[in-house]
Symmetry: C2
Subunit: 355 residues, 2 copies
DNA sequence: GAAGCTTCCGTGAACGTTTACGGTACTTAG
DNA sequence: CTAAGTACCGTAAACGTTCACGGAAGCTTC
């Protein structure tokens, strides 16, 4: 027999370094002179354990730094203490803010958050992501789905655990329920502000119609105008980028179609517009009033400081976690969307009397 | 014989509700007519299973949608398939970009990412976060520690699994090793650019010295100047906010100490500065050249478009995951930091001949 | 046609918990 | 003094895997 085995020396010696091993419930039990059952009871603060014993066990636990093995617990109880967060990969402002806030409130409720992000061909990536989240044993999933295609993929996907989608203005289905901020209201606030300032010719430089945010903001703009008896003015749809907005602004200047007032679908859109106008001697807000949406960091120091709409991501996160946990635990909770607020700065001004 | 108990039929009939229950390795085995051991072998594509059997098992797995229970696997192998990401709660540009990128490459390597963020009194929150990450069974932890206090907390904390810290210019300790981008180089690039443009009076409007980024960027500025035989000019330390920068800019104007050229510690800092100068008739870049740092979204559409330094978060994430995984698996990998790049736009210009 | 290899597969134990059940020792009532 | 509680606590089984062993065929080889 060819002598050369050796290579795989692994027989049965995991505890090479006994120190490094994580203490188990048995270690605690032994030290405390009780059975592991008793330790388990104090861990889950169940009844049927005397005060003195409880005390002693607790002390030992602290001393040796025992921590309950979550995998083992999950295995036997098959209920979980974590939620999954599914996000698209874009580092755009909204999604990221939501993500962080979400983790925060989940943790405060005793849930760990495992996140996963998906990319462009959503059909497969979303289902795969949902599956692997399921694998890790999450009890529920929140998906941040700003773009329509992604939401569609979520609707078509199947998943054992409850799925909640944060998507502005999208509708719930039997499988996945939806929650969001009331961005349409945000758009209404912005547009109304412009109307209140005396403007009549109010354009919308929109975001991408592939995004819920883009659709909903446009809808809000349009509806407000109609409600006020005004005809919706110019509307051009873009892609959120300052670059596109800049070029659009340039075109407007060239064609002499610069409107009196503009509701820009995002702060970055506003940024591009402002540059295009300013470079051509058209002053904001003197010649054209602009209000943005997002209140990104720094928007208060744009030139001019931007009047814009702010969403409350913390409130959003709080509510939506509440809603998900409710679904997981069989409760039913209120689901009215969060209202954004208008923050008034210097980029929109009273309409001049001319016209 | 007893006409059918019904109620709890569970002796060996798991499929009470065949639908909702998650299939196990045993279900697969039964359907395939093999033992669970064999199924396990095909799952881990171990040898010792015939092609035909493998085929059949694989098919069944697909048919009934079996997915391996991670908790059970983790329990028995005690090696993990997830990493923890610890971040500070700030939605500042750098940290968030890193976070997303990190998850992305981790997933591509087959690891799930559970994230947790900590807040201000770091001493306790960091240790708690590390612990609860450990609880969830991560194999290693990457902490994004932009601020010095947080890093200190990490240094003082104890943790069983490898901890890697992403902190610009911080040093490694026995317990936690550090990795980062070479931000000092970034600062040097920016400063050198200004020198090359012919400027001699180059100030630094710095970030917060509570942040590594602030410290390192200042150091780079100072070193470059000295290397060029120039005396470092004005340096004032702030807090990254456009607001503070704006006020600082105003003060400079009032005291008539506006320098010829400025290396701003961040794009947002630059933003505040620019507004202060512009509002007072001091033109950028005609009267003062400014270069920023970060290349935040939209900085190409500031007024003027900002010359700045861009970090490659994807590369950072790729490398640091590589490094962590290396540590977890006992490999040793290269750890040279990533170089940022200078992106030249319009906010810095050739020095005028005067002076 | 028995010895020795391969190749494939089944079995049992273990991982660290939770949970239901059972048991002891004390207390109290009759 | 016995019966029935009560207050504690121990035990066994189960959760869904992985892994080391061992064993049964089938194929060579003499």
């Amino acid at each position: 027999m060819a002598g050369m085995a050796v290579r795989r020396e692994g027989n049965d010696r995991p505890p090479a370094t006994p120190s490094r091993r994580k203490p188990t419930i048995n270690d605690v039990a032994q030290l405390a002179g009780v059975s592991f059952g008793t330790v388990s009871r104090v861990l889950n603060d169940a009844p049927d354990v005397s005060a003195s014993t409880r005390e002693r066990v607790l002390q030992i636990i602290k001393d040796i730094g025992y921590r309950r093995n979550r995998a083992a617990t999950a295995l036997v109880t098959s209920r979980s203490t974590s939620i999954g967060i599914l996000s698209d990969g874009s580092p755009r402002f909204g999604p990221v803010g939501t993500l962080l806030a979400l983790e925060n409130v989940a943790r405060k409720k005793g849930y760990a958050a495992t996140v996963i992000s998906v990319e462009k061909p959503y059909e497969e990536s979303v289902q795969a992501a949902l599956d692997s989240l399921d694998d890790t044993g999450v009890g529920g999933i929140i998906v941040i789905a700003p773009v329509v295609d992604m939401a569609a993929a979520v609707w078509n996907a199947t998943c054992r655990v409850p799925v909640e989608m944060i998507a502005a203005g999208a509708s719930s289905t039997p499988n996945v329920f939806t929650y969001s901020e009331n961005q349409e209201l945000g758009a209404r606030l912005a547009t109304q502000h412009l109307i209140d300032l005396g403007h009549r010719d109010i354009a919308h430089i929109a975001g991408s119609m592939d995004w819920f945010d883009g659709r909903v903001r446009k809808r809000g703009w349009e509806a407000t105008l109609r409600d006020a008896g005004l005809e919706p003015g110019l509307c051009v749809e873009g892609d959120w980028s300052p670059k596109w907005a800049y070029e659009t602004g340039l075109r407007l200047v060239r064609e002499e179609k610069v409107p009196q007032a503009i509701f820009a679908a995002s702060d970055h859109t506003a940024l591009g517009l402002i540059r295009a106008f300013t470079e051509n001697g058209i002053r904001v807000p003197d010649d054209v009033s602009i209000v943005g949406f997002d209140d990104v960091e720094g928007s208060d120091y744009f030139l001019p400081p931007l009047t814009t709409v702010r969403q409350d991501f913390n409130a959003l996160a709080l509510m939506s976690t509440e809603v998900l946990l409710g679904a997981m635990e069989g409760r039913d909770v209120d689901r009215t969307p969060i209202p954004p607020t208008l923050v008034v700065r210097d980029s929109a001004r009273q309409a001049s009397s001319r016209k």
